[in-house]
C-alpha cells in the first residue's frame, strides 16, 4: 500500500462525519473505543499458545488410540512365541518323566521282585524278602542317584501298595486316592500295553510332601517274553512320585532371556526381553505350581481364578488379551491350555511395561509441548516487544494527542510499516503543532480569543487535512457552494430519485419549520404537503414526482395557487421551481421555493386597489355619460345646436376616459398575472371569422377590405383564454383600421409549425416612422404620424397586446415602413404556455 493510499484510508471516517455537520465535528477520543482493549502482543501469544496446546493434545490422542494398539500387538506376538516355546518345553519335560518311569519298570531286578511279590504262588517268606529287597534296591541303588524321584510304589491289581521305597506306605489304597483326588492314572495303567505310561498333573498330598509332584504310572511286565515274542503283563503297576518341578519351573521361568542372550537364531529373534514377563503353570485345581516372581516368597499353593485359568479349566480355551492378574495388576497375557493333563501355562507381562515407552513418549510430549509453549510465548514476547514496541509508542503519542497534548512524539526505531506510521504520525503532529503555534500567534495579535479558539479547531482540522493531502480543493469548492446555497434567500432542497432529501439550505429549513437534521434523509412528501387551490396534490402529481418522471422543469408563480402545508398544520402560499438534476448517484431533482405570503398580500392589496379603482373611476364616469346622454336625447327638453355639440364633447370625452381606464386596468391585471382567464380550445379560423364579423361595421365605415389570407385546413387548435386572444386580435385590427386610409386593405395571415402559431395583421396604412419604432410598445406612447391621424388614441392598446401575448409565452414583432404599411405579428406557443411569468421577477 502506498503512502497516499494509507492517507486516504485514514481520512475516510473524518469525511463521513463531516457530511452530517461540519461545525460540530468534535470527537471525543473514547467515543470510538467501544470494544475492550487487547494488545496485539497478547493476541499473538494467545493464538500461538493455543495452537501449540492444540497440537500436543492432538498428538496425545494419536498416541493413546493408535500407537497403543501397535504396542499391544507387538507384546502379544512376543508372548505367543514364548507360549509356543513353553508348550514345547512342557511336552519335552513330560516325555522325560515317561522315559524315566519306563526305564525303571524295565529294570530286570525290579521285574523279578515284582513277579515274586505279585505271584500268588510265591511263598510268604519269599514275598516278604522280595518286598524288603524292592524297597532296599530302590532306595540304595536307584533313588540315591536320582533325587527327583521321591517315592516309588508297587501297586497290585487292586491298587493297594504292596511294596514301596518307603515301608510305611505298604497297605495304602491308591485306587481310593485316584477316585477321590485324581492323583494318577492307576486305572488306565493296570490295563495298558507295553510302553504306555501315564502322567498326572501335580498335586499336593499333605501326607507326603509340601512340594507339588508329578505322578507317573506304568504297567509291569514279566522278564520273559511269551512264545510270540510279546511282553507278558503282570497284575501290577509301578507308581513314581517325581519332585522335578523346580527343574521344570527353571525351564519355564523367563526362559527367553537366556535364549535371547545365548541363542541368536531366527526363531527367537523376535522375542523381546521384558522385565515383568513371566511364565507359570497352574494345575487343574487352579493352583499355581511353579514359582512366580510376583509372589517371590510363596512359590506355590496359591489359588488363581484369573481369566486364562478360568477359560482353560472350564472351557478348555486359550486366551490372548489384556486382563488383571492374580495380584490385580493389569497384564497382557497369552495362555496355553493342556486340558488332558489339567495344566495351564500362563505367559504374561505387565501392561505398565508394555506401554512404558508409549507412556514415556506421552509424558515427554507433554513436557516438550509445555517447553515449546513457554519458548514460543517468550519468543513472541521478545519479537512483538521489538516489532510492536514502536507501535505502542505511536499509540501512546496518539492518546496524548487525543487528549490535546501535542508535545509527545513517537520514536522511529524501525524502517517497516510501523516506522513509516510513526514518521507520518510525527509529521502530522509537527504540522498540527506548527499550525497551532501560528494560530496562537494570530490569536495574540487580534485578541479575539473565543472566536480564534473556534477557528483554531477548524484550522487544526484543515491542517490535518493538508497533512493527509486529500479533499481540500473539493472541500473548499463544496464549502463555497454550500455558502452560496446557505445564503440564498430561497429554500433549496436536493432530492434523489427516491424523493429522499440529500441537501437542504438553512432557508429551506426555516420555510419548512424543520431543522436541517430533521430534513436530510427524509422523503420530501413526509416533510411538507402541497396544496393547489386549497386541495392536497396527490403524491404522483407533486412537482418533484412530475420532474422525476418527465425530466421537465415545473414552475409555479404567484398566480398559480400553490401552497405548502407544514407538519405543524401551517399553510402559506409558495412559488417554486423544480428542475431535474443528473448526478453521479443517479437522477434527482432540485427544488427552489419561497414563501410568497407577503407578495400575495401585496398582490391582493394591488388587486383590490385595481378593483376599487375600477369601480370608483367608472361609476362617476358612467354618471357623466348617462346624464350627457339624457341631455343629448333631449329627455329633459330640447337643446340648442351649440348645447348639443358641447354635451356631445362631454359624452365623447367621458367615453375616451372610460376606454383608457379600461385599458389601464386590463394591463394592470395582465401584468399582475391575475388575468389567467379560462383556457379553452380555440379553432383559429372560426375565431378569426367571428372577430371579422364583429369588426365589420368599422370596416364598412372606412370602406376597408379585410382579407383572411390563410389555409384553414392546416391550422392547429390552440389552448388560450378566448377573451384575451380576442382582445389582442381586435386591438391589432382596430389599430390597422384606425391608421389606414379609406379604401385601404387589411389582411390576416396565420401559419403554424410544430412549435408555434404565427398570427399576423397586415395593412397598407401610415406605418411607423423609423425613429420611433423602438418606443412603440411604451405605454401612452403614440407615434407622431399616428397622433396627427387620430388625435385621441390612448397609446395603451399595443402595450396591452404585448403584455397579453407575453403572458401566454408568445412574442410580438412588427415590420413597418412609414407611408407603406405595417405588419404586426404575434406567436402562440403550442403545447400550453405555462411559463414562470413572475417567479423571478
Amino acid at each position: 500500500m502506498s503512502n497516499t493510499d494509507q492517507k486516504k484510508n485514514i481520512s475516510l471516517p473524518e469525511k463521513k462525519s463531516e457530511v452530517k455537520d461540519e461545525r460540530t465535528v468534535v470527537h471525543q477520543p473514547n467515543d470510538r473505543n467501544t470494544g475492550r482493549y487487547v494488545p496485539i502482543k497478547a493476541k499473538v501469544m494467545l493464538f500461538f499458545g493455543a495452537l501449540i496446546i492444540f497440537l500436543a493434545l492432538l498428538m496425545i490422542v494419536y498416541l493413546q488410540y493408535f500407537v497403543r494398539a501397535s504396542f499391544r500387538d507387538e507384546v502379544m506376538s512376543n508372548l505367543h512365541v514364548a507360549k509356543e516355546k513353553n508348550v514345547g518345553v512342557y511336552a519335552a519335560f513330560i516325555d522325560g518323566l515317561k522315559t524315566h518311569a519306563l526305564d525303571w519298570s524295565s529294570d530286570n531286578y525290579i521285574k523279578e521282585l515284582t513277579q515274586a511279590i505279585v505271584d500268588p504262588d510265591t511263598p510268604a517268606l519269599r514275598r516278604q524278602v522280595a518286598v524288603e529287597n524292592f524297597g532296599e534296591y530302590l532306595r540304595e541303588r536307584k533313588m540315591k542317584y536320582d533325587p527327583e524321584v521321591l517315592i516309588v510304589d508297587l501297586l497290585d491289581q487292586n491298587g493297594v501298595v504292596v511294596a514301596s521305597s518307603r515301608d510305611e506306605r505298604i497297605g495304602v489304597d491308591e485306587r481310593q486316592e485316584e477316585i477321590e483326588y485324581q492323583v494318577h492314572y492307576f486305572s488306565k495303567a493296570i490295563v495298558a500295553s507295553f510302553g504306555e505310561t501315564f502322567v498326572r498333573s501335580v498335586v499336593f498330598e499333605e501326607d507326603e510332601t509340601t512340594e507339588p509332584m508329578f505322578h507317573v504310572t506304568v504297567r509291569m511286565f514279566r522278564t520273559e517274553l511269551d512264545e510270540a515274542g510279546n511282553a507278558v503283563p503282570l497284575p501290577s503297576v509301578l507308581l513314581l512320585h517325581f519332585t522335578s518341578l523346580p527343574r521344570f519351573a527353571g525351564f519355564l521361568s523367563n526362559p527367553h532371556r537366556e535364549i535371547t542372550r545365548t541363542d541368536e537364531s531366527e526363531e527367537y529373534a523376535t522375542i523381546r526381553n521384558f522385565e515383568t514377563m513371566e511364565t507359570y503353570v497352574v494345575n487343574k485345581d487352579g493352583i499355581v505350581v511353579t514359582p512366580t516372581r510376583g509372589i517371590p516368597d510363596v512359590q506355590t499353593k496359591r489359588l488363581i481364578t484369573t481369566a486364562p485359568v478360568e477359560e482353560c479349566l472350564k472351557n478348555s480355551k486359550e486366551v490372548a488379551k489384556e486382563y488383571l492378574d492374580y495380584r490385580g495388576v493389569s497384564v497382557i497375557g497369552v495362555s496355553a491350555c493342556v486340558a488332558s493333563d489339567g495344566i495351564v501355562i500362563v505367559n504374561e507381562m505387565e501392561s505398565r511395561e508394555a506401554y512404558a515407552i508409549l507412556d514415556n513418549l506421552i509424558r515427554t510430549t507433554m513436557v516438550g509441548a509445555g517447553a515449546v509453549f513457554l519458548l514460543v510465548i517468550l519468543l513472541i514476547f521478545l519479537a512483538t516487544q521489538r516489532l510492536l514496541g514502536n507501535l505502542e509508542q505511536v499509540t501512546f503519542a496518539a492518546r496524548w494527542f487525543a487528549l490535546g497534548v501535542f508535545d509527545e512524539r513517537a520514536p522511529v526505531t524501525t524502517q517497516d510499516e510501523i516506522g513509516q506510521l510513526a514518521v507520518t504520525f510525527n509529521i502530522m503532529l509537527d504540522k498540527i503543532e506548527a499550525s497551532k503555534k501560528e494560530l496562537t500567534a494570530n490569536l495574540e495579535k487580534t485578541g479575539e480569543q473565543n472566536k480564534f479558539l473556534e477557528k483554531t479547531k477548524i484550522a487544526t482540522m484543515n491542517v490535518l487535512e493538508d497533512a493527509i493531502e486529500i479533499k481540500s480543493k473539493f472541500e473548499s469548492q463544496r464549502n463555497e457552494l454550500q455558502s452560496i446555497i446557505a445564503s440564498v434567500n430561497e429554500g433549496i432542497l436536493l432530492v434523489d430519485k427516491e424523493y429522499v432529501i440529500t441537501l437542504a439550505n438553512p432557508m429551506a429549513g426555516r420555510i419548512l419549520g424543520l431543522s436541517l437534521r430533521e430534513l436530510i434523509g427524509k422523503k420530501a412528501h413526509d416533510v411538507v404537503g402541497i396544496l393547489k387551490e386549497d386541495k392536497l396534490v396527490p403524491p404522483g402529481e407533486r412537482p418533484i414526482a412530475r420532474v422525476l418522471t418527465t425530466s421537465e422543469p415545473v414552475f409555479a408563480g404567484l398566480g398559480d395557487g400553490y401552497s405548502f402545508k407544514l407538519l405543524s398544520g401551517k399553510e402559506f402560499p409558495v412559488a417554486f421551481f423544480v428542475g431535474p438534476l443528473t448526478g453521479n448517484q443517479g437522477n434527482g431533482a432540485v427544488a427552489v421555493f419561497r414563501d410568497i405570503t407577503q407578495e400575495k398580500s401585496l398582490d391582493e392589496a394591488k388587486s383590490s386597489f385595481i378593483s376599487i379603482a375600477s369601480h370608483q373611476l367608472r361609476t362617476p364616469l358612467t354618471s357623466i355619460r348617462w346624464y350627457s346622454e339624457m341631455l343629448m336625447s333631449e329627455d329633459t327638453g330640447p337643446l340648442t345646436n351649440t348645447q348639443r355639440d358641447f354635451v356631445k364633447e362631454v359624452n365623447d370625452g367621458a367615453l375616451r376616459l372610460y376606454q383608457t381606464i379600461d385599458l389601464l386596468l386590463a394591463i394592470s391585471r395582465i401584468e399582475s398575472g391575475r388575468q389567467k382567464g379560462d383556457v379553452s380550445e380555440i379553432d383559429l379560423n372560426q375565431f378569426t371569422q367571428e372577430v371579422a364579423k364583429e369588426i365589420d361595421p368599422q370596416l364598412k365605415q372606412k370602406q376597408l377590405s379585410l382579407a383572411l389570407n390563410y389555409d384553414p385546413s392546416g391550422l392547429p387548435k390552440v389552448k388560450l383564454d378566448p377573451m384575451l386572444l380576442r382582445q389582442v386580435v381586435l386591438n391589432l385590427i382596430s389599430n390597422s383600421i384606425r391608421y389606414t386610409n379609406n379604401d385601404g386593405h387589411i389582411g390576416v395571415e396565420i401559419s403554424a409549425n410544430d412549435k408555434e402559431v404565427r398570427y399576423a395583421v397586415r395593412d397598407d396604412g401610415i406605418g411607423v416612422p423609423e425613429a420611433e419604432k423602438s418606443k412603440l410598445f411604451q405605454k401612452f406612447f403614440r407615434a407622431e404620424n399616428a397622433r396627427i391621424k387620430v388625435p385621441d388614441g390612448s397609446g395603451l392598446g399595443i402595450a396591452l397586446v404585448k403584455d397579453i401575448v407575453e403572458s401566454w409565452g408568445g412574442t410580438i414583432s412588427f415590420e413597418t415602413e412609414e407611408g407603406k404599411g405595417s405588419l404586426f405579428c404575434f406567436t402562440i406557443p403550442l403545447g400550453g404556455g405555462n411559463f414562470p411569468g413572475d417567479f423571478f421577477g
Binding site: 369601480h615 367608472r618 361609476t619 358612467t622 354618471s623 355619460r625 329627455d635 379560462d678
Partner: protein
C-alpha cells in the same frame, strides 16, 4: 300614477346619481319603478309590492346583488321574478355566478349607453 298595465321594476342601485338617472329613464318609458339603494330595502319592497322585474346592481353595500338574487330565488312567491344584473364591471366569474343563480342577463354598464341598456332590459320584460 300607477295603472294595472304598468309593470313594476325593482331597481337596486347604490349610486344615487345613477339610481336617479335610471329611475328617470325607466319612468319616461312608462314603468313603475321601486328604487332602493341596498338589498335590505329591496327585500322590504318585495314584502309590500308586486314586482315584475328586478334591476340589481352588483357591488351593493352590505348584501351584494348576487346575494339578493339568491335570496329572491329562494322565496317561493318571488322566484318567478326576472332579474338582470347590471354592473359597473364585468368578469367571467361573476357572469357565470349570476347565470347559475337564475339571472336573465348580466350587463356591463360601461359597454352601453343607458338607452341601450334599457332597450336590452325591455326585451326581457315583455
Amino acid at each position: 300614477m300607477k295603472t294595472d298595465q304598468q309593470k313594476t321594476i325593482l331597481l337596486v342601485e347604490d349610486n344615487e346619481p345613477l339610481n336617479r338617472a335610471i329611475t328617470f329613464k325607466l319612468k319616461a318609458r312608462g314603468y313603475n319603478v321601486a328604487s332602493v339603494l341596498n338589498g335590505e330595502d329591496a327585500l322590504e319592497v318585495l314584502k309590500k309590492e308586486k314586482v315584475d322585474f328586478g334591476w340589481f346592481g352588483m357591488l351593493l353595500p352590505g348584501m351584494s346583488g348576487l346575494e339578493l338574487l339568491r335570496r329572491l330565488k329562494s322565496m317561493d312567491e318571488h322566484k318567478d321574478i326576472k332579474v338582470a344584473i347590471i354592473s359597473v364591471s364585468g368578469g367571467n366569474e361573476a357572469q357565470k355566478q349570476a347565470h347559475d343563480l337564475g339571472a336573465v342577463d348580466y350587463i356591463v354598464k360601461s359597454d352601453y349607453d343607458l338607452g341601450a341598456i334599457i332597450d336590452r332590459v325591455e326585451k326581457h320584460i315583455s
